[in-house]
Subunit: 647 residues, 2 copies
């Protein structure tokens, strides 16, 4: 956490200095704005939070509810989402508050007494160590709270405008604010009052029945729907041995997905209600709670759940839907027209709740779009950049539906086939954990990347963090966790094997080019008068331990001067972790702060070339380019079209 | 974090349900109260925070300042203090926000050019692994903020009453609220207005010039004072290579203690101004800032600090003072009279700032007293318990002064003698880290403890945490970090080597006694109608891994029923960490949540007998008793006098 460089901060440094023109902003919805976000669910709120970081952008989010969501239904939080929360500064709080899924128990009919269930397996979550972040159960309502707090503490002090229902929109081409939106008040005191606002861009994050989606005429294909279930959040008295463990239960009477929730006493239970008759016509939705509980207890036999209190319950039919396009550009217009209206989250993809995907994929939708909108609205990129949102996210939605169809099918099936459900769960873990996304080469992922220079960082996938030693203060920390949701690109410069103090090295040559050459992205794309690190966050990682070189060995580009006093930022220079005599200090809780391991070499762990490498990471954490220290032309060429305002 | 068991919580679970009678409490100072705390510094605020946990106690804290402290001067946070913050629920935030002292650099005159300084050593902080918590630099003002937030979120919604100056007090023996305190308003609108309030107990945490101390006539001995220094918090441009590392600098021109602060840009520098002439008469305090900066730069040669902004500066004379007693009971009255008025923190001990001790020791004073006040005021103990505050804390103050005299003397000395300053620093680390305190056997530390049953837990010292696997959900976590500042005693029951499922074992016999025997402290001292874990938080730790036994193997006393629905708390049962195949998952950030190690056996690590052991830990985390599973008489006998209301 960096502060004091824009003036002494006496209070909570997480509360940013308000931008001058935002400090006393009118909380009411203005007539005209850069971005209007419709729907304050996870997809909309992450987009709003990202945009709130830039006070020069006038962005607003409306929500038809009159206020805060009191009871969220989504509750599965993937490691990738926790990683994302880290960038927004609230991962630790969520980790503290959430239930940690550390393992899953599998129960099946006891062969010696098939009427009874028996535990057959435990699988560890994330068996391959894909992420250092945990898999959590955490209430959607609290996720929204944290994003809202981020907005309130941001430089723009962005509010949520509750009580507005989106009705329709039309686009008036050629206008500066071409999207005209018609809204209706849902607040008691002004109910039904109409308001028309104009925006440059609109994001519809308004759920499965999205009106924004209808407005842009995007087709929402129904893939399949033939299954129903009951779901309830309950406080119970139970002798089920794995009550506090996520359990997948198949009995001869049906199946249950049992999920312990935050706080230690509440449980989410999904009770399968079987395949639907084609002519059911939603009759299943009338299933009473008692019947669901009775069915659950039948499945659970010989164990029992005595329900003491029900916080929420529902009957659902599994529907899988995916939207053909994520913006208002028709297939025949692609390449010739820039999008103005976007949709995200449930508006684009709906599916079963069983794999805990909905909220997570939706947030990645919102983040993907928001940093690009910021890049355009802040004058760094032309609007054509925004076409990449549909290109990148629509295939993810399709993959999601495909995965969930398979997963929910297996959950419901009584016959396992060739692969047990627990083996399937372990084998496919990368997908539900949120790390399967791999963007293809295009405008935002380099075509000429040299994957062989950093085999541990797959091009197009998220940058997988690793521990390094900060030269300035000897702290070891996770390099990737320094990535904040601030819209900046990361350029990680991995040094060649020459000592840091060597007067000449490939690293020095590269650093000089990056600092001074007119083809350097830092020189070319940073606005005059702005801090040198305002667009590109450049860090260097040496192959030496932090006691083996001096801070001032690092070229000046790695010690950027910032703020009104142009103070030197001394914290962007790293070495590998290589400290003697600390291997025995193993019972640390907070390795962020402690030297737990004698040697942890990021070069070795992530397969980085000993000749050095440059890794470019996008504002949403995806690896965009990998090149050598000598590949300066490739680096220039990669950024040139992204920052080309003439396109 | 446990919640939902007293009703569904939709918002932040850190905000406790307000007690009925406190929800709309009058924030103004009442006429009569149980406890009046004078002074909202670290000692007073921790005491207030602890008392705020109990809505049945009417406690208030007054402060002569009109509002929040904008600029705190103390900034060193020991690992023991971070451990304490963990119990109050805000350690992670402080860790995130503070500067982490991971190592200290030592600079001395360069032998080849004595006018220049040269780095001669780096010492790692906490080289012996005394604590899993880090050593931080963190602003006192923020510490106070966090305690205040704890109070505001507590069941009692306790406010801080700013704007009241304590003037004097008298005691009217025999009255229910015998301490009569005279206050004066310092608020602008009511300046000088007088108010008299009555309290059962008063804590003077009103600093070095404590009026409460004067009121009880406690002598404050001056030990020595012959040294002066300049101190400043500065934003600088510097080429000093260790600017971001805590550095102890001795040059031929004098010495500097250089401390990087939170945020990455601010530095605290202590510039030695040498020994004082006996006749100086505080003339040194007129030293101008420029002179201090010039002196600093002379010491730093060949490096330079260009001061860009000064957040705060001062000239100080080192004074060492310690108070003879911490309460209003005269030596000749000890044993025959119970104390009514106490003092804590700077009111009891003042010394140099160099070892970063002040705020830390003060907080332990406040906590030591506050849980005892709660024990008495909640009707669990007789007022005679309060005599242990003076008995336990006064010797700590004396040790502190002795340590600081030696440390500040060495910091100022140009001649090192037989031991280098860096060797001294490493050798004595336990003291400044806050873990040297060892309370002697007495009312609150057992006389007949069997230290040999748990060699890793020194009787009278703080319970040193270790990692265990929770049976309920397979999470591995730090046992000690589950200890909240809730006034409860911890009884850690370490099982004998019999399998958990064995129908008979020493553990089962003990558990039965603890649950049912009329001599059991749980049976005897828990109030009728209260939850079984309301006074004693009982946990069991088995010698098996968590997959090797079932939750229901554990006797019922380890699955207490709580709250209005009397739901079973399934989270008090633990095993050792023993998971195969996870040793390679080494790059975790959050081991709280992840199985980092294949095997971590608390029995082995803390020298716990394989025949089992019972470890009693006080509400302030100190080990109070160690006995065997068969030593039930000893356990009864230990608690009996503490909970004896007739004394």
């Amino acid at each position: 956490m960096q502060f004091h460089h824009y003036g002494y901060i006496s209070g909570d440094p997480r509360i940013r200095l308000a931008d001058e023109k935002c400090a006393d902003r009118d909380p009411n919805l203005p007539q005209v704005m850069d971005v209007l976000i419709v729907g304050a669910g996870p997809a909309g709120m992450i987009a709003a939070a990202q945009l709130s970081a830039f006070p020069e952008i006038e962005a607003r989010i409306i929500e038809s509810r009159p206020g805060r969501l009191p009871l969220g239904h989504a509750d599965g939080i993937q490691p990738r989402s926790v990683e994302t929360f880290q960038a927004f500064g609230f991962a630790q709080e969520v980790i503290e508050e959430g239930y940690h899924i550390n393992e899953t128990a599998f129960w099946k009919p006891d062969p010696s007494n098939p009427d009874h269930i028996k535990r057959v397996a435990w699988t560890e979550d994330d068996p391959a160590g894909i992420s250092e972040f945990p898999h959590l159960i955490f209430n959607q309502a609290r996720v929204l709270d944290y994003f809202r707090r981020f907005m309130e503490r941001s430089r723009s002090r962005m509010p949520v405008n509750f009580g507005w229902q989106f009705e329709s929109l039309e686009i008036e081409d050629g206008e500066e604010y071409p999207v005209v939106c018609h809204l209706t008040s849902t607040r008691e005191e002004t109910f039904g009052e109409k308001k028309t606002v104009r925006a440059k861009y609109v994001l519809g994050a308004d759920g499965a029945t999205s009106r924004v989606r209808s407005a842009i005429g995007a087709k929402n294909s129904k893939v399949i729907s033939n299954h129903a279930g009951g779901v309830a959040d309950v406080l119970v008295d139970t002798d089920f041995p794995d009550a506090m463990t996520k359990s997948i239960i198949h009995s001869t009477h049906g199946s249950i997905l049992h999920i312990p929730r935050e706080g230690g006493y509440l449980f989410r239970t999904y009770v399968d209600l079987g395949d639907l008759d084609e002519n059911d016509a939603h009759q299943i939705r009338n299933t009473p709670l008692d019947e669901i509980i009775a069915k659950g207890n039948e499945i659970l036999s010989p164990y029992h759940m005595d329900v003491k209190e029900v916080a929420w319950w529902s009957v659902y039919e599994v529907g899988h839907r995916v939207t053909e396009r994520f913006d208002d550009v028709l297939p025949e217009e692609r390449g010739s027209k820039d999008p103005r209206v976007f949709i995200a989250g449930d508006a684009c993809h709906t599916h079963s709740a069983k794999a805990g995907q909905g909220m997570n994929v939706s947030m990645q939708d919102g983040w993907n779009l928001a940093w690009k909108l910021a890049q355009v609205l802040r004058g760094y990129s032309s609007p054509s950049l925004l076409a990449t949102y549909n290109t990148e996210r629509q295939p993810v939605a399709q993959d999601l539906i495909d995965f969930d169809l398979e997963w929910s099918g297996r959950m419901a099936a009584s016959d396992e086939g060739d692969e047990s459900i627990e083996d399937f769960y372990v084998r496919t873990w990368e997908f539900p954990s949120g790390f399967r996304t791999e963007y293809k080469p295009g405008l935002l992922v380099a075509h000429d990347a040299k994957q062989e220079l950093a085999t541990g960082y797959t091009l197009g996938k998220r940058f997988k963090s690793y521990r390094v030693a900060r030269r300035s203060d000897g702290n070891d920390l996770h390099l990737g966790h320094l990535h904040e949701a601030d819209g900046r690109w990361r350029i990680y410069v991995f040094a060649d094997s020459a000592p840091a103090s060597a007067p000449e090295s490939k690293l020095r040559t590269f650093a000089k080019w990056l600092a001074q050459d007119e083809a350097s992205p830092v020189v070319r794309h940073t606005k005059p008068g702005d801090d040198v690190n305002s667009v590109f966050d450049v860090k260097v990682i040496y192959q030496q331990g932090h006691h083996e070189f001096e801070l001032l060995d690092a070229p000046e580009i790695f010690r950027p001067r910032v703020g009104p006093l142009q103070l030197e930022d001394k914290n962007q220079i790293f070495g590998i972790i290589d400290i003697e005599g600390v291997a025995e200090k193993r019972d640390s809780l907070y390795p962020l702060t402690r030297n737990m391991f004698a040697k942890e070499d990021i070069f070795e762990a992530r397969g980085i070339s000993r000749d050095g490498a440059v890794i470019v990471v996008r504002p949403d954490m995806y690896v965009a380019h990998i090149c050598g220290l000598e590949d300066t032309e490739s680096l220039s060429a990669f950024f040139e079209p992204i920052f080309d305002l003439s396109k």
